[in-house]
């Protein structure tokens, strides 16, 4: 060992010792301040310093563990709270929706055209609020990080029947065609979390209906690359401007001033601009049209399923969302 090496080792040793002294002083100072002691009382010998350092580090580790436990328990409490709130909100929402639809139907006597329009707004907003409540709960579940997929074989047709049951009346009410096309190579039984696959499809279809003033919404299911199942939802709706496409899956996306074409800003709801009947851009989104959680949830679920999502859209000419999921039954699963 030459003298340069000895100098380097000595230097490193001194630096390490200085750092230890400095760290202990800081921690002692911190503790002394916490106990309102004078800093002088905290001066200790070298051995005492090291013992104190170990004890302080142990205490910090314990505190960190306690903080993590508290954070997990808080997240759990948040989800439980949201579940409770969601349950409590859904019952009065049923009354509002039911009574407004009975008014619309004329159970309590005939309504004028204006009164009918007003009643339909109440019903639409109630449906929207219900969707938000469900989305917020799902987002909280996803944020907890311990979201588990329930994998099992499921019948694709059952998922399609459920989708039609909810979405066909919505499409019919807007005068839209809702079409389903299942390619013959797609097997009737798939393997995955059926409820989440339904949710992905439902969010995409509901979104497409919402932002399509006229024309059609089409769902195509086919096999991609011979190994994965592709679910494609296309619409003839308002489309998504290019500059918003990279952010369309962000939760609570807000449009900036000018990005919606009329310069007023303040809009939200997945950033899709609303058009009037002739297809020209008419107005920005009203907050009642959503916080854009639906597509964010779709992206998170697709990612959990090791799938991918693609978007092709042109402003004013409709959108095509393609979700590709590994839900075809493999030879190992069928064995």
């Amino acid at each position: 060992m030459n003298w340069q090496t000895v100098l380097v080792i000595l230097f490193v040793f001194l630096i390490a010792e200085a750092m230890t002294v400095w760290t202990v002083r800081r921690l002692c100072q911190h503790e002394a301040n916490a106990k309102k002691q004078k800093p002088e009382q905290a001066r200790l010998s070298s051995i005492q310093r090291r013992k104190r350092l170990n004890r302080v580090l142990f205490l910090h580790d314990t505190r960190a563990e306690k903080l993590v436990e508290e954070a997990i328990s808080l997240a759990q409490a948040k989800t439980e709270f949201l579940a409770k709130v969601s349950h409590e909100l859904r019952t009065p929402l049923t009354s509002i929706l039911g009574v407004s639809e009975m008014l619309d139907y004329g159970v309590y006597g005939p309504l004028s055209r204006e009164q009918k329009d007003a009643v339909r707004i109440i019903a639409d907003c109630t449906q929207h609020m219900a969707r938000l409540v469900a989305d917020l709960l799902e987002q909280a579940r996803l944020e907890r990080g311990n979201f588990k997929l329930e994998m099992a074989d499921f019948v694709l047709e059952d998922v399609i029947v459920r989708l039609k049951r909810y979405n066909a009346p919505l499409a019919r009410a807007k005068g839209l065609t809702l079409d389903f096309e299942i390619s013959p190579e797609v097997p009737p039984i798939l393997h995955g979390d059926a409820q989440r696959v339904y949710q992905i499809m439902h969010n995409l279809v509901e979104n497409a209906i919402k932002y399509t003033p006229s024309g059609e919404v089409k769902v195509r299911i086919f096999v991609e690359d011979g190994a994965r199942c592709a679910i494609q939802v296309s619409d003839t709706g308002v489309g998504i401007p290019k500059e918003l496409q990279s952010r369309i899956f962000d939760p609570f996306l807000q449009l900036n001033n000018g990005s919606n074409g009329n310069g007023n800003g303040n809009g939200n709801g997945n950033g899709r601009a609303r058009t009037n009947g002739n297809g020209s851009k008419a107005e920005q989104y009203h907050p009642s049209n959503g916080f854009g959680l639906g597509l964010s949830i779709v992206k998170q679920l697709v990612s959990l399923m090791n799938g991918e999502i693609r978007l092709k859209s042109e402003d004013g000419k409709g959108s095509i969302f393609t979700v590709v999921l590994p839900i075809l039954i493999t030879s190992e699963q069928s064995a």
């Binding site: 859904r90 009354s95 009574v99 159970v107 009346p169």
Partner: protein, 125 residues
């Protein structure tokens, strides 16, 4: 010909009224009950064609009523629509129900579904 009987078991009175009118519109003869125990007693005397069942009920949970109907051979032809705000519980019971609706549920939705179920049953018969 008399209308088919529909039993509505729901603790919220406003929702009970909405379902009653919706089922009348679907050409049923609805009977509205507010608690689970009473519903079970009536089920021992009646053979309803349709039961619209809430899950969180006073005195006896809806899940127990669902199981009681499904285990009673006398009620083997009774169709059941579970209507609940508790999505997780309702999904767990989907296998025993003919249909599951998650609240909020509209007047039109209940009327149309009940009507479809009646038509499907009469097609089979």
């Amino acid at each position: 010909m008399s209308s088919p009987i529909a039993l509505i078991i729901e603790d919220d009175e406003t929702i009970g009224e909405i379902f009653t009118i919706a089922l009348k519109e679907a050409q049923y003869d609805p009977i509205y009950l507010r608690n689970g125990r009473e519903a079970l007693e009536r089920l021992s005397l009646l053979q309803p064609n349709l039961v619209v069942l809430d899950l969180h009920l006073p005195r006896l949970p809806g899940a127990m009523i669902l199981r009681a109907i499904r285990s009673d051979t006398r009620l083997s032809r009774t169709q059941i629509i579970v209507v609940s705000a508790d999505e997780a519980l309702a999904e767990d019971l989907r296998g025993d129900a003919d249909a599951v609706l998650i609240k909020p549920v509209g007047f039109y939705q209940v009327r149309d579904l009940a009507h479809q179920m009646k038509m499907a049953r009469s097609d089979i018969e």
